[in-house]
């Protein structure tokens, strides 16, 4: 469990990498998260999360093409590794389990 544990923000980043599939690099991920969740995130925190997860082996990266709009700098493009997928799945399962463990009565009370 411990090795595959990911934090909430890391999970968000990891999922976004998945969504963007073949154009997942720092700024694009930041934009996507901002758009989808409406929360404001900084490039640097996304970068740091990406770096951490690459070290943990959840992500793999390669240098992508330099474009005009980046002033000729390269992009680092990320893809999810199998263990990354595993970690996401793990997180989801854990969540589901926790959801299921909530007694029905809680929901009833809430609804009345």
């Amino acid at each position: 469990m411990k090795g595959t544990h990911i934090g909430e923000f890391e999970e968000l980043v990891l999922l976004t990498v998945g969504i963007l599939y073949d154009d997942a690099y720092g700024l694009a991920i930041t934009d996507e998260i901002e758009e989808r969740t409406g929360r404001s995130v900084t490039v640097s925190s996304v970068h740091k999360a990406l770096m951490r997860m690459e070290q943990k082996g959840f992500l793999r990266s390669h240098m992508g093409g330099a474009t005009e709009e980046r002033g000729g700098r390269n992009k680092r493009l990320f893809t999810i590794t199998n263990s990354g997928k595993e970690a996401l799945r793990e997180a989801r399962t854990m969540r589901n389990e926790l959801w299921d463990a909530i007694p029905k009565v809680v929901w009833d009370i809430k609804m009345s």
């Binding site: 640097s44 005009e68 709009e69 980046r70 000729g72 700098r73 390269n74 992009k75």
Partner: protein, 881 residues
């Protein structure tokens, strides 16, 4: 990396270079790319400036250990070196505790003084900045010169505000304040309180000023007659925790019901006028008067953004011509043109709101203002104190240089660079100054409340939590540390290693000349401050003890008599006089010190008249105040014609002269009424001694607002209680309120008294700082001359001889400092005293006292070390080596 197209804006180069410098090589490209993309997008969305700022922010946010390049390819290790600087600095400081202690104490006292003064000055400069439109608000003031009397006053005619809005495109809005009769008796149910600072204000008041309302609508609060806006404190006094809005207060002696239409947040200390209640201007009939020669309102104009106040001011002469012109003949009997040709002047000028507190001192100010001169004086004192502290620092460090010369020599031979030696010494001084700053911040916070008390200001320490202030303080600390450490750092590091190690360097004497100059300077500054402080006190004492022309002791003054009818007042006065402890009593509309009314009289036969202050008083006024009658007679009941009698003071006789005016007739130019001069009284001071006694006329009245009683009693509080019971009998509806005349006179000098106290505190501190330096130097000298003293003692010198020997050097320096200080202090005080019409002489004893005092303090400081050295057993000092 390919070449970039030229037309695109580039992110700040410095930021990019910084990023490339610290960022790990393998990460630089992608980070830079992302930030570049972000930057380009932001340029389009948010503009270049914002994009650049955010770019910088982003670059800084990547400063994270994961991103920072590991640098280990050079053997030099900056952080380790810095660590060594600190280690050695701490060792040096703890090794020489007295030296470090003196330095830290001196600096922290200096810094504390500076911080206190800074907060004070900051407070003074912050007046009225709370108003969001402050920079566009101007006050209109009146300037006139009639019959050679120059009057600059805050008061302007009632229609001025409205006319200005109508006629001048620059003026967006205007609001008037009326502050006559601002002390009022206010009732709500059982609660009856005499409120001071009850002002009248136009309905536009809250459009111009930004006092926030906690209840009520600022736009409509002051529109209807007999409505009022009160402060939270006032509301609490009458209504407790019940909402005040909509409640009705009974205002004034007529108990006019006023509806509370607004509650304003309590006013901060730093605004140039305060109020407990604002009544709507519509409550005052006089407010809608269109008389251009009735001055009673303070007018504030709100200018359009970007409008020039100068061009507006220039248009005022047209206004005067158009509106005041037609009224002039009514008062002066001549047309405006002739009036001006006769050398008179009448006009308006503008004062920026932000300048009022420190730059304005007109007649009828709403509150006594501050004075920019005192701000400068305090700033200079602060500068001197910090300079003294820095000098101490340099002095002690150079004095110590002898002890550290060897260290420098050894370090240099071992290959230490001069820059690293400078770094070492600088670190030491910065560490010291940092410790001192921490202590000073602590000390300032502790002392602030009592300092505020003395200065008569509510100064808050909230600046201490603001980042700009803390950053500034940190910068200042570094600056002081570097400045104070610079001389020793460069001086010590300049030692040649060979000479030092050979012992050729004569110990510490090389820098003696500079040290002496610095000591002289310190004592010069301290002695000058002492002399100035003594003279400020001397002037205050003189002012208070000066023969005022009346006897201000034992006169009790009761306000609020206007609520009684004429016959009630007379009965009350009679009751007062019947008391055995009451020598005499009087009813009057005016009471010294102070004077509101001024009007123009002229001799029956004369062309031109003069402006006279007017006191309306009863038959017993002269006797109660013990004002001396020089010629003629007092008002008397045996002359029924005395309703048209008038008394003049000597200055008035001079003004209206030439010749003796006794029994002559003078004419009130406004009404044309004639008065006969029945007596001439001695000049008596009814204003601060800053001004010369102005011409005054005393006119007869049978009623008034003040009841005054001269009492003669050993038990003042019993007499007061007795009079209070009389008051309750005659005026049960009115709260009893009294003052003593001597207190009122003292209040005139409160600003000067506070200045005197503030002065003496900082003077004391300056002396302490200077003495700390002297103590350090004396310690060092005694240490240096241990052997010499030992030998002298062995040869038969007595302890006294040794003490004289050691103190002699300093004595010469202090005397030299004293000699330089005399003319400087003399000149400074001459300048200050010129501001007073009645001033003390600068007497010799002040200088002698300051000089002798400084010398004694210096001796006392040095003596401890001298005596220690003189009493030491010579064997101890000689057996080493």
């Amino acid at each position: 990396m390919c070449k970039l197209p030229k037309h695109q804006p580039e992110p700040p180069k410095l930021a990019t270079r910084f990023l490339r410098w610290y960022c790990r090589a393998e990460l630089v490209d992608e980070v830079e790319g992302d930030l570049y993309e972000l930057f380009q997008r932001r340029v389009d969305d948010q503009g270049l400036w914002k994009a650049e700022t955010l770019y910088w922010l982003n670059v800084l946010m990547f400063l994270h250990p994961d991103y920072i390049r590991k640098r280990n390819h050079y053997p030099t290790n900056h952080t380790a070196m810095l660590k060594s600087y600190f280690t050695i600095a701490f060792r040096n400081l703890t090794k020489r505790k007295l030296y470090a202690g003196i330095n830290i104490l001196g600096l922290s006292i200096g810094l504390t003084s500076c911080l206190l003064i800074f907060l004070y000055i900051h407070h003074e400069l912050s007046y009225d900045t709370m108003h969001t439109k402050a920079d566009r608000i101007y006050r209109v003031a009146m300037k006139w010169n009639v019959a050679d009397q120059q009057i600059d006053a805050t008061l302007t005619p009632p229609p001025l505000a409205e006319t200005a809005v109508e006629e001048f495109p620059e003026v967006v809005n205007a609001a008037r304040i009326c502050h006559f009769l601002s002390t009022m008796n206010i009732r709500y149910g059982e609660t009856a309180i005499i409120e001071e600072q009850v002002l009248l204000a136009d309905s536009t008041f809250f459009d111009v000023f930004s006092f926030p309302l906690v209840a009520g609508d600022p736009a409509t609060a002051l529109v209807k007659p007999n409505t009022a806006v009160i402060t939270e404190t006032t509301a609490r006094k009458y209504f407790g925790n019940v909402p005040a809005l909509g409640k009705t207060l009974l205002v004034g002696d007529g108990q006019v019901p006023h509806e509370v239409t607004g509650v304003v947040k309590d006013l901060p200390a730093n605004v140039h006028f305060h109020f407990s209640m604002l009544r709507s201007m519509a409550s005052l009939e006089f407010a809608s008067s269109d008389d251009w020669f009735e001055h009673g309102f303070i007018t504030y104009l709100l200018l359009r953004e970007g409008a020039s106040s100068q061009s507006l001011e220039a248009k005022f002469s047209g206004l005067v011509e158009k509106y005041v012109g037609p009224v002039i003949p009514q008062y002066f009997g001549v047309s405006l043109e002739t009036f001006i040709q006769q050398g008179n002047q009448y006009g308006y000028f503008l004062q920026p709101l932000l300048d009022i507190h420190l730059h304005s001192n007109l007649d009828q100010e709403l509150e006594p203002n501050g004075d920019i001169t005192y701000v400068y004086v305090l700033a200079i004192i602060a500068f001197f104190i910090i300079l003294l502290a820095c000098i101490n620092f340099m002095n002690l460090a150079t004095a110590r240089s002898a002890n550290r010369a060897k260290e420098v020599g050894v370090r240099k031979t071992l290959g230490s660079l001069r820059s690293s030696l400078v770094g070492q010494f600088m670190t030491e001084s910065v560490v010291l100054s940092f410790i001192a700053t921490c202590l000073a911040v602590l000390g300032t916070n502790l002392l602030l409340p009592s300092f505020g008390n003395i200065a008569g200001k509510e100064i808050s320490g909230e600046l201490f939590v603001q980042s700009w202030f803390l950053l500034g303080l940190l910068g200042f600390t570094l600056l002081v540390g570097i400045l104070a450490g610079s001389y020793p750092a460069f001086y010590l590091s300049s030692f040649g290693p060979v000479e030092v190690l050979k012992g050729k360097l004569t110990r510490g004497t090389k820098s003696r000349g500079i040290r002496n100059i610095l000591v002289v300077f310190q004592f010069f500054a301290s002695i000058t401050l002492v002399i100035c402080t003594l003279l400020v006190y001397q002037q205050l004492e003189y002012a208070q003890a000066k023969n005022l022309g009346l006897d201000k002791e034992n006169v009790m003054i009761m306000k609020g008599a206007q609520s009684l009818s004429e016959s009630q007042q007379a009965a009350f006065k009679q009751d007062l006089i019947n008391q055995s402890q009451v020598v005499n009593a009087s009813i009057s509309y005016d009471i010294p010190p102070g004077s509101m009314a001024r009007t123009i009289f002229k001799k029956n036969t004369a062309e031109k008249g003069g402006t006279l202050h007017v006191y309306e008083v009863d038959y017993d006024f002269l006797a109660t105040m013990q004002i001396e009658l020089l010629e003629g007679r007092n008002f008397s009941r045996s002359f029924s014609t005395d309703t048209a009698a008038i008394l003049l003071n000597e200055s008035a006789v001079k003004k209206l002269g030439p010749g003796n005016l006794l029994n002559e007739e003078i004419v009130h130019t406004g009404s044309g009424k004639t008065y006969q001069v029945v007596g001439i009284v001695k000049d008596f001071n009814y204003e601060s001694l800053r001004h010369e006694i102005q011409p005054m006329a005393l006119m007869l009245t049978n009623q008034g607002t003040y009841l005054s009683a001269r009492i003669n009693s050993d038990d003042v509080s019993a007499t007061v209680a007795q009079i209070e019971s009389l008051w309750e009998k005659h005026a049960p509806a009115q709260p009893f309120q009294y003052t003593f005349m001597d207190d009122n006179y003292e209040a005139l000098f409160r600003a000067e008294q506070r200045l005197g106290k503030v002065f003496s505190i900082f003077t004391g501190l300056a002396i302490v700082v200077a003495c700390l330096g002297l103590l350090g130097l004396a310690t060092f000298m005694a240490e240096q001359r241990t052997k010499e003293i030992g030998i002298r003692k062995v040869m038969g010198a007595s302890a006294t001889n040794i003490i004289i020997l050691l103190s002699g050097d300093f004595t010469k320096l202090v005397i030299l400092a004293f000699v330089i200080a005399i003319p400087v202090a003399y000149y400074l005080m001459q300048w200050w005293l010129e501001g007073f019409a009645y001033r003390t002489n600068i007497s010799l004893w002040v200088f002698v006292l300051a000089g002798v005092g400084a010398l004694l303090i210096a001796w006392l400081t040095v003596s401890w070390q001298s005596i220690k050295a003189a009493l030491a057993n010579p064997i101890d000092s000689l057996k080493t080596e």
